[in-house]
């Protein structure tokens, strides 16, 4: 067997693959998808703040007032915190707001609370009835005016505020026909109808909208008015809200992670995710192995369809051709997987910054040697096993349709690692995990799945040895089929022909 031939075939297959549009598409698809998923919450948040406008037809006469006062107070507290931040004054372009920020920065906690108590009713009333403060004389009026008038700036400072995400539209003399028209004009996403006695009537509130695909607004509104109605019911029953809250408080259960050195510490989010990461790695491994093996299958069929095989076999042996192709496509796949992994690692590393949550620190997960080695080792072993299998299948087929028929039983079998993924992640040392680790076609997936609670080195050694022996056997059988299949004519590929080629 000539290594030079194998290298030449591998080089050609690699270069030809990386020059195709399909390669660049697969290369960029996953990172783009990951970035899109990471950006999705922010996109949803920003799109909601524009579209999710609402108003209320309040027959109770009190609930909307209380709701607006409550929302205004909460949002004002958020805004004051943002204004008091060190960089707020610098962010604010005009002198008036800059001065307000400077003034807020000097307030203590009690003064902030007092300002909210004074300014919130004023702002809530303006919000409900429309209009602005005519002359802002003192800080309370100035702040209330700022809160009502400077919505774009407030959106920038506190994008998470309720009235930023779900802007209230004043409709003092609203009738439902006008509101329906407003919905048609897209001036409103929807409006709520509060019954005469929301404390007594539990099911009579309505949400009217033309858009049934946005559940966020009614969900949020329902939560808010339930909270207020519940407080009203407690008050009417002379129950103290704090006492009720205390009684209904659940028992806190904190998960503590036991580390290798026997110490315990409260499990962080990153640690919890890290325990589940192997399951995600199995999925990634599954996609990587089969997308790369599929490339090999397609390439083999194309070479046969293009009537190149015979010419190639006059220069190299069938085994050299098959190995060259397997290695060439493996290099292509490895390039894809490395770039995917790098994109994933970058995304995980930037999550704390992107989402502003320091708990999402996955640097430990990325540098975990067991995960890294498991993924790389089992990608290579898994690909060699399935790659040789698919090369043999490809050599027997003249079209992808024929290949799909032969592939069906293999594909059905290969759902098994996905089916057992969660049970194995929950119990990585259980009987199921241990037994399936020694079934060669499943070894790469099951062993990667067990990486959160890594088995001992002997298990790694034995399963890898078994896997390597299986690959050797598979390569021999595949070469036998390949030699026969590559030169077979146009007769359709069938299981009978496959077995005949194996028996030869």
């Amino acid at each position: 067997m000539s290594l030079r031939h194998i290298a030449l075939i591998a080089e050609r297959d690699y270069l030809e693959n990386v020059r195709t549009k399909g390669f660049w598409f697969s290369l960029l698809a996953l990172p783009v998808l990951l970035l899109a998923l990471a950006a999705l919450p922010a996109v949803i948040l920003s799109s909601q703040s524009v579209d999710a406008r609402w108003t209320v037809v309040d027959r109770s006469g009190w609930l909307t007032d209380r709701l607006l006062l409550d929302l205004t107070s909460t949002d004002m507290r958020l805004l004051l915190t943002a204004l008091a931040a060190d960089d707020a004054a610098a962010m604010l372009s005009d002198g008036q707001t800059g001065k307000l920020a400077d003034a807020v920065e000097l307030l203590n906690e009690d003064q902030v609370e007092q300002l909210v108590r004074d300014a919130a009713p004023l702002a809530a009333a303006l919000l409900r009835d429309g209009g602005t403060v005519n002359t802002a004389g003192n800080m309370t009026e100035e702040f209330a005016d700022f809160f009502i008038d400077r919505r774009p700036l407030i959106k920038e400072l506190t994008p998470e505020a309720s009235l930023v995400r779900f802007p209230y539209v004043a409709s003092p003399a609203a009738n439902e026909a006008e509101l329906a028209e407003a919905i048609e004009r897209d001036a409103l996403l929807g409006y709520f109808v509060i019954p005469d006695d929301p404390v007594a009537d539990t099911d009579d509130a309505l949400y009217v909208t033309a858009s049934l695909t946005n559940p966020e607004l009614p969900r949020w509104f329902g939560r808010e008015i339930t909270r207020l109605v519940r407080a009203q019911r407690l008050a009417e029953e002379n129950l103290d809200a704090a006492t009720v809250a205390f009684i209904s408080r659940p028992v806190g259960l904190t998960t503590v992670a036991l580390s290798d050195d026997g110490t315990t510490a409260e499990a962080t989010l990153a640690e919890t995710v890290s325990q589940w990461a192997p399951a995600a790695l199995v999925y990634l491994l599954w996609i990587a192995i089969f997308s790369v093996s599929q490339m090999l299958l397609t390439s083999t069929i194309e070479e046969k369809t293009n009537k190149l095989v015979e010419l190639l076999l006059s220069s190299v042996s069938a085994r050299e051709l098959m190995l060259g192709k397997i290695i060439g496509i493996a290099l292509t796949g490895t390039t894809v997987v490395l770039i995917w992994s790098a994109a994933l690692a970058l995304l995980l590393l930037s999550l704390p910054t992107l989402l502003g949550n320091a708990e999402l620190d996955f640097s430990g997960l990325i540098s975990n040697p067991v995960y890294l080695v498991s993924f790389c080792l089992y990608f290579v072993l898994g690909y060699l096993f399935y790659g040789s299998l698919l090369a043999a299948v490809g050599s027997m087929c003249s079209t992808l349709k024929e290949a799909q028929t032969l592939m069906l039983p293999i594909q059905l079998f290969l759902f098994l690692p996905l089916i057992v993924m969660i049970p194995i992640a929950r119990d990585p040392d259980g009987t199921l995990a241990v037994v399936l680790s020694y079934v060669p076609p499943l070894t790469p997936f099951v062993m990667t799945n067990r990486a959160a609670s890594p088995p001992d080195w002997l298990t790694y050694l034995l399963t890898s040895a078994l896997m390597i022996a299986s690959i050797w056997l598979m390569l021999r059988l595949a070469a036998r089929v390949f030699e026969r299949g590559a030169l077979a004519g146009e007769s359709p590929a069938t299981f009978r022909r496959l077995f005949q080629a194996l028996r030869r």
Partner: protein
């Protein structure tokens, strides 16, 4: 076989229990153009594949170029298969170089030789184009370049004229002549008999997986019944009763072609004709390879 460029010895091969070649032996003289003739499906391609080391025989042996195992001598063999394709997405120069390198050439030699051949076959302008942009005739030339790039000592052409345009037919014939002149050996598989007769020094006729005839063109055609073409005036004779005549075929008024038996005394027959009819002209003709082929396979193409 000291003077043999390639040989098969008692080779048999079956696919799924169906014999493709059965106890085939042949020897290709070095420096000759050797024709493998036969019907489609007769076993020609399988014989060539065994000779090239592409297919392993069930029994018997193959050797090329001074008794080498063909699998070890692939770098010295050039093969143009009957069903031929190219990598459509590759550049023309890269394809030629790739096949040169697979045959053992280093990158720079392969580049140099590929450029020379592309220039000679008038494809130099397309050397940077993708194969898929070539016309059919250009692609055929490139296939020939891929076969010749490493200057093979033994050139095997399986139905080389199949699907070629007249310009490329001429090109392949020129290549065959050049190789013979240079002392290389060419094996040519074809079912077009007049081409085999014109180009080959020796032929082997394979039918139903077995060798039916082998030898030089002269020997093969001489081994079959001679023919006598007769032009006459006046009434015809009763041709079938003439001594030594196996078959007669009227070619029109006053002309007949007589197929004679191997033992026919042609001189006596001509004397007899001269006495019995008004003989104007006669020609003793050798059987064409086409007729030999038809006689052997008992079938019209």
């Amino acid at each position: 076989m000291a003077n043999s460029a390639a040989s098969l010895t008692n080779v048999s091969k079956a696919f799924s229990g169906n014999p493709a070649v059965d106890d085939v032996s042949l020897s290709v003289p070095a420096g000759s153009v050797f024709g493998v003739i036969g019907r489609n499906g007769a076993g020609k391609s399988t014989s060539l594949r065994i000779l090239l080391g592409i297919v392993t025989p069930d029994s018997g042996s193959a050797s090329v170029l001074n008794g080498q195992d063909p699998r070890q001598a692939k770098g010295q063999l050039g093969y143009l298969p009957e069903e031929r394709g190219l990598y459509r997405k590759m550049r023309v120069l890269d394809v030629a170089m790739y096949f040169g390198r697979l045959k053992g050439m280093n990158r720079s030699d392969a580049r140099h030789r590929a450029k020379t051949l592309l220039d000679r076959f008038e494809l130099a302008e397309q050397s940077s184009s993708k194969v898929e942009t070539l016309s059919k005739g250009m692609a055929q030339k490139l296939q020939l370049i891929c076969t010749l790039i490493h200057q093979p000592e033994l050139l095997v052409l399986d139905e080389p004229f199949s699907g070629l345009d007249p310009v490329n037919i001429n090109l392949v014939q020129t290549v065959i002549h050049e190789h013979r002149t240079a002392g290389s050996t060419v094996i040519l598989s074809t079912h077009i008999m007049d081409q085999a007769e014109r180009l080959c020094d020796e032929v082997v006729l394979i039918d139903a997986g077995k060798v039916q005839l082998a030898g030089s063109i002269d020997a093969v055609t001489a081994a079959t019944e001679p023919r006598l073409r007769v032009v006459f005036d006046g009434p015809a004779a009763d041709w079938s009763t003439l001594p030594g005549v196996a078959e007669s075929r009227l070619q029109g008024t006053g002309e007949v072609e007589l197929t004679l038996t191997q033992s026919a005394d042609i001189q006596a027959l001509i004397r007899h004709l001269n006495e019995s009819i008004s003989l104007r002209e006669f020609t003793i003709a050798r059987q064409s390879l086409q007729n030999v082929f038809l006689a052997q396979t008992d079938r019209r193409l």
